[in-house]
């Protein structure tokens, strides 16, 4: 909504919509009654605009863990499979971590990232250091993130672009058989879906 603010209160421009007038009247009345503060509205709007978090992606991962048929569709056509859950607006390929294979997502050119699923990218994702070193020495980078993989594990690097984004489907941790889909989703971090972390079972995650 950038720029929209400045247009208000200037009635020589095109007439303000009835809806806008109505909302201003509401805010004015509610502020007067001390039922709400304008500053609180400002804070909330910017918080929601800036941070959607990794929750949509975590739901996708949890569904894939509990539903093998969904997982198959997700790996075959990520874009269509996330639309099933109501997420879209992005061409997506999902890459699966499994025994002997670990996936890592980077955008070497800029900072392409599946916002719709995992929110805003962390600062390090956009850094030149990560973008260059993830490709050159992924094993070292992963170790710095606390993921120490045996030499026998192959690391696959996926370079995001404006046309296609990648999401890592992490391995479901052992000891989570009794968890519900919603509980599983809570274990899945943003970093795990970029590939710089593993998903820990609940006991370890709590530490």
């Amino acid at each position: 909504m950038s720029g929209a603010h400045g247009e208000h209160g200037h009635h020589h421009r095109e007439p303000e919509s009835v809806l806008s007038l109505r909302v201003r009247a509401l805010e004015s009345l509610l502020v007067e009654k001390k039922l709400v503060a304008s500053e609180a509205i400002d804070r909330i709007v910017s918080a929601y605009e800036e941070d959607i978090g990794p929750h949509n992606g975590a739901k996708v991962v949890a569904r894939a863990w509990v539903d093998p048929a969904y997982k198959q569709r997700l790996l075959t056509d990520g874009t269509a499979a996330i639309e099933e859950l109501g997420f879209g607006g992005v061409d997506l390929q999902v890459v699966e971590n499994k025994a002997g294979v670990h996936n890592l997502v980077v955008c070497t050119l800029c900072s392409c990232y599946p916002h719709a699923l995992i929110g805003l990218p962390p600062v390090w994702y956009k850094s030149f250091e990560y973008r260059s070193r993830a490709v050159r020495e992924p094993r070292v980078v992963l170790r710095e993130f606390g993921v120490d993989l045996p030499e026998s594990v192959e690391i696959r690097i996926w370079d995001s672009s404006a046309e296609l984004r990648y999401l890592v489907l992490p391995e479901r941790p052992a000891g989570t058989e009794g968890l519900s889909e919603a509980q599983l989703a809570e274990l899945v971090s943003r970093d795990a879906m970029i590939g710089v972390a593993l998903v820990r079972p609940p006991a370890a995650a709590a530490r």
Partner: protein
């Protein structure tokens, strides 16, 4: 303090799901952001429960669809919010109409 964004609100699904583009909330006009923020803020202040508003919004959207109204998502949101406030006696319809008129005629210009 309520967690912001609250997952209960941000992750609403179905007809009431918040309009997004590439995952980010879309407010096409300033008033849409204001009415969204006002509703969330008042639910934090315990003027009402979020699910009360959500139920009102679901009903409003269903009504608009039934009547074939071309209204936008946030227009329906505004109607649902107004209804909730008047039902709860927090806002008086006449006072709202009068205040709207004051903004329309430029006699008042005190918010956003």
């Amino acid at each position: 303090m309520e967690p912001v964004p609250s997952r209960e609100i941000a992750d609403m699904t179905g007809a009431v799901a918040l309009p997004r583009k590439n995952g980010e909330l879309v407010f096409d006009e300033a008033w849409q952001g204001r009415i969204f923020g006002m509703t969330v803020a008042m639910s934090h202040e315990a003027s009402f429960e979020w699910r009360e508003f959500q139920a009102q919004l679901i009903a409003e959207i269903a009504h608009a669809e039934r009547e074939g109204e071309a209204s936008s998502y946030y227009e329906r949101w505004l109607h649902a919010f107004e209804r909730l406030l008047t039902d709860k006696g927090l806002v008086d319809r006449e006072a709202l109409a009068e205040r709207t008129h004051e903004f329309e005629t430029g006699r008042r210009d005190d918010v956003f």
